[in-house]
Symmetry: C2
Subunit: 334 residues, 2 copies
């Protein structure tokens, strides 16, 4: 297959997957060769990347909407330039971009990246040196900030993202514990990627094994899973631990979201949730009191008290507080 | 009642509350007057603080364990010094500390704070100028960091913490929206505490009203509740929004924890959960690639590829990836 053919093969979306995708959700079709416009280039695809986020996208749960039925399945690819109308690439150069599942692709030159074939095999441009690698790197460098001697926990430990997270944390001097979905993957995580331990979340004694692998708790956790795996990790958090919320593979194939607070919007918003325990801030008490007292004095801060009279009224006052009956700060006057 | 009496009244824990506390869980008893040891002082209690966290403590879900049956119910109080053996306080001075629900208390001098009666009425030492005020202040100043023009959402808006959070955010130039549990409390939040709007979470159209009150989404949320209220707030998060996880009043009175990820340990650990979307970090792609390529070159970073051959193998490869069958980065070679 080359640029002289008039058609190309492509895999198109036949129907929107329900639950786990089926082969019949996709269709191999013969399509006309795409033609580049100004500032576009035509690529002969050599490698396609298969990524879990595509499932979220096909379910309409991703930043980018689900493509229309009949269109080429979207995805990253790597290929060589067949034709360039942007003046920015040479024919034969290796590039990566959102080619989709097709033999050829036409892309805007601005959305295409050069692949440096001297760094590593070109297929790494969608793996360890591509978006999975950047995901791991950004999570470690920008959020986890691992310190020597800390314990870092990593889900999907043998995967494209998790394996890099684990190795970056190991290089930072951490004890690195992985979570994976089979004994084989756990063996890969420890033997190939240097994890100090790896626990199979499908094992019946998963929680027990995880605790045993993290005797000092965890100082950071990289989550690609959500659900029960996240729940287990949260139960091991040390003081001021950091958690990267990166994926929810636990729910990509479910028709219904699992119960409980949905952390999907937290990922989408790049939001930060932080636990507050007031006793950490006692050193600021004088500063706080001065500021608030000044605001009370100048009328910009109001307060309200709900007063119960006599020591014997304390239980009823407390019960009322829990019922939400009080209006303002609940107090007992002796 | 003064220091000359030989006994005092106290409210003691008769049994551990199950679900919503009952009056019979408590017992008013006559106890011997406590006697201060070295570096302690004896206090005549004038005000007792009633606080929701006590419910968590009585349920064994708090940093401080549940007190033994028969002992005085713990809690903050304010009173005057009757007798000082620390040499640090004068008789008659007003102080606050963990007096418990009793007419008198003996406390270590190091755990007692002077109350400045010139700042505001002394009862505020357990309210707006006490731990609730510090909680609000620390959440706003150290986590939310509200900016003018942002929308801030505050749960328990009419309460001792929420009312201060709202007013601090209002003073910072924000649109402030409250969540509360009755129409009366919502009216207090807007009329007394200056909230721009307040929504009753018990209303059938709560979610709809909340969305209407936050037409531009929310840039910060102070959560004292958890559960469905937190879930509603998360659905409104703007980019890089911040959430203070401070309380879980939704579950204090439940025998069983609600389903889904339990955020209790996140509060206890003062942990930080942060959403990561890799596309925010594209500017770092070159830096990341250089670092990772150098690690590949010197053998400290390994990767693994799971290769499927031919475009037609893409659907099966993708399905296998979602099944967890792949070992390493999933690729299709064309």
């Amino acid at each position: 297959m080359d640029g002289l053919h008039e058609t190309m093969q492509a895999v198109c979306l036949r129907r929107v997957p329900q639950g786990m995708p089926q082969a019949q959700d996709f269709e191999l079709r013969q399509l006309p060769l795409p033609t580049p416009g100004d500032s576009q280039l035509r690529i002969q695809v050599q490698w396609l990347s298969l990524d879990p986020f595509l499932r979220a996208q096909l379910g309409g749960r991703y930043a980018v909407p689900c493509p229309p039925l009949g269109s080429i399945v979207p995805g990253y690819g790597i290929g060589t330039v067949l034709e360039d109308r942007s003046g920015r690439f040479a024919v034969g150069e290796v590039v990566s971009g959102l080619t989709g599942w097709a033999e050829q692709a036409v892309l805007d030159a601005g959305t295409v990246s050069r692949v440096d074939a001297t760094l590593a095999p070109i297929s790494t441009a969608v793996g360890v040196l591509g978006i999975p690698g950047l995901t791991a790197w950004a999570g470690v460098r920008r959020i986890l900030e691992p310190k020597p001697g800390q314990t870092l926990l990593v889900s999907t430990a043998a995967g494209a993202v998790g394996s890099v997270v684990g190795q970056l944390c190991g290089a930072a001097g951490c004890r690195v514990v992985g979570i994976s979905g089979s004994a084989e993957k756990c063996a890969i995580a420890t033997a190939e990627f240097g994890f100090d331990a790896c626990v199979n979340y499908r094992d019946a004694d998963f929680l027990q094994s995880l605790r045993a692998a993290c005797p000092d708790g965890i100082d950071g956790y990289f989550d690609n899973v959500g659900g029960a795996v996240l729940e287990a990790a949260l139960s091991l958090l040390n003081l001021h631990a950091r958690v990267v919320l990166c994926g929810l593979s636990d729910q990509y194939n479910r028709a219904e979201r699992p119960a409980g607070p949905n952390l999907g919007p937290v990922i989408g918003a790049r939001a930060r949730l932080e636990g507050l325990v007031v006793y950490d801030h006692l050193a600021d008490f004088d500063l706080c009191r001065r500021e608030l007292a000044a605001m009370i004095a100048d009328g910009t801060l109001r307060y309200r008290e709900h007063i119960h009279d006599g020591l014997a009224s304390a239980p009823a006052g407390f019960i009322g507080l829990l019922n939400g009956d009080n209006l303002g700060k609940a107090l007992v006057r002796l």
